[in-house]
């Protein structure tokens, strides 16, 4: 559907890319990243609003790198919606059809369909779109984008200004539109929950680079770079060295802490890597409870240093006894109620081998990136 090859662009001192991406028809990709990562610039470059510094864009097999935006047939819903304030809701929705001089009967039928789908009955004849509520504006803008029957829909943080209930309704609606209308969606967001709920595939962009493209589990459990791991709130990240490659391919890692981790191609003794585990994957075991063989590896005695209380979960900050390293452990409230830990309590934690991710480090500099900002 859309393929992007080594696409790079510049705005001021910011550089995007080079980015490679290949999006199949009917698929739903969420482009996730912090604000300022270049996500919007990427969309603009794909749409031809910005001239790329290098690289190509193909749509439906055609090279459109030098095609004007109006001939790329991409529908676009920007973050601020950009409804046309001088037009009524109906004229906003029909704007594209009028400009492209589409067949009137087809347009009327499609409009009726969208009015039903997005429940626009009471909104369609409103003259001043600035008086619509947030959710209403959103639906008008979505209808405007969908009316020309696009095969490709770009969404830029479409729900960032909406409250949770309406957001969820529209998210479910979007998934429906993707599946039923067969439109390929590229959806930019900084909201991880939204990215995971909607994206069949998730692409993570940080500092203008596409750092990882993959399934939900890939992104969540197997981050490809330290930036991705940090952005996805991996609290437990360790700077380790390969101490031994075991016959079955798994690794012994060390640097204060000693961990057995899954192997990867090219692992060699002495290599430096980052390893980590999501805080909800860390297992807590009471001091005297017997444990099965699958938890024997990476088992540590620890004490509770601090307890952070959230809405539905608690986070225990535990200090491992041998290494002094701190590990965050997330427990749901029900588990916390049962276990009843307090600061200073002793416990055992297991960083299960199969829950550990590793990232080989080419240069040790990645650790320094955010150094200025660390307390």
């Amino acid at each position: 559907m859309i393929r992007v090859e080594q696409l790079a662009a510049r705005r001021g001192s910011f550089t995007l890319g080079p980015v490679d991406i290949d999006l199949e028809g009917d698929s739903y990709l969420t482009l996730l990243g912090p604000s300022g990562a270049g996500k919007t610039l990427f969309l603009e470059t794909c749409m031809g609003l910005i001239s790329p510094a290098s690289g190509c864009v193909w749509i439906d097999g055609k090279d459109v790198t030098r095609t004007v935006p109006e001939q790329r047939h991409i529908s676009y819903l920007p973050q601020d919606l950009s409804l046309f304030p001088h037009l009524s809701a109906r004229d906003n929705i029909l704007f594209g059809a009028k400009r492209r001089q589409l067949d009137k009967e087809q347009v009327a039928a499609r409009l009726a369909g969208l009015v039903d789908l997005l429940d626009l009955h009471n909104i369609l004849d409103r003259n001043d779109v600035s008086t619509l509520s947030g959710g209403e504006k959103q639906r008008v803008a979505l209808a405007r984008a969908l009316l020309p029957n696009p095969r490709l829909l770009f969404l830029d943080e479409p729900f960032s200004a909406l409250d949770a209930t309406i957001k969820r309704q529209l998210q479910v609606k979007l998934r429906e539109i993707n599946l039923q209308m067969g439109v390929t969606i590229l959806h930019v967001t900084h909201d991880q929950e939204e990215a995971f709920m909607l994206g069949e595939q998730i692409a993570v962009m940080i500092h203008g680079q596409l750092q990882q493209v993959g399934s939900r589990d890939d992104i969540y459990y197997r981050p490809a770079t330290i930036d991705v791991a940090r952005f996805l709130r991996n609290q437990n990240i360790f700077d380790l060295t390969v101490e031994e490659v075991l016959p079955d391919g798994s690794l012994w890692l060390g640097n204060g802490i000693h961990l057995k981790a899954p192997g990867y191609a090219g692992a060699k003794k002495g290599l430096r890597l980052a390893a980590g585990i999501r805080s909800e994957e860390v297992m807590v075991i009471r001091p005297n409870k017997p444990i099965g063989p699958e938890l024997q590896d990476n088992l540590f005695h620890a004490t509770v240093d601090d307890i952070l209380v959230f809405g539905g979960t608690h986070t225990l900050c535990v200090r491992l006894q041998d290494s002094g390293i701190t590990v965050d452990v997330e427990l749901p409230n029900c588990a916390m109620r049962d276990l009843g830990y307090a600061v200073g309590d002793a416990l055992r934690v297991c960083l299960r081998k199969r829950s550990l991710w590793t990232i080989p480090l080419e240069s040790p500099d990645v650790w320094k990136e955010d150094h200025d900002d660390q307390l």
Binding site: L49, Y76, P85, H86, P148
Partner: protein
Amino acid sequence: MLQRDTVFKISMLLPLAALAGYFLLLVGSQAAFFSLTGFFEQLSQADIHSAITLSLVAATVSSAVAVAVAIPSAYALARLDFPGKRLVDTFIDLPMVLTPIALGTLILMSWNTAFGSLLASFGLTVPFTMAGVILAQFTVVVAISVRMLKATFEQINPRQEQVARLLGCSAFGSFCHITLPLARRGIVAAVILTWARAVGEFGATVMVAGTAKGQTATLPSSIYLAMSMADLPRAVTLVVILIGISLLVLFGVRMVMEQKR
């Protein structure tokens, strides 16, 4: 409400009140010389008629041309990137800081260049003609027009134009269907203010076109003539007309800018 803040607020408001009072005094000071019968008597005279007509026609033509040139120029300055943009953007303000007298002199001098010959070959004579009045006014007001419209275009979110592009508009189509309608109020305000400046233009006009009664004497020139002949009733009449126009313009612009949608 908070006493110490009140002192501060008053010390900020007093200069403003003094200033507004001074302007009010100025506007009111013609009352001593004004009489309604004298006003209408003056209005019936032929050379006042012709001054009014000339002022309105010349100002309308010159401000229309100025805005027509200013719309694309301002859009280019607001939206496009091109080499030398900063230089052009700065230089284009020249008529706003150079005295109209000097501008008028420069127009007269340019009459002796190829530009003058070009105009002359079209049958246009500038010195001491109505065409000269229009050219002088245009030269003085076009920069104001560009400046105002540039600010207007800069306030329009380019995202709106981009969305229109993706919905099927060419660059020109999105300019016509989105940019111009959204700039509507700013353009109307620019037209009104440009026109008002053209009506009030004196320095350049007097240099280029002189003050020939009934021919090239605009309203401001006529005041100058009247005052130099100590003809107070006539001067007062003309001043009152210009104050009236100014107040209409000021409140008209405010109404346009505060309009809904």
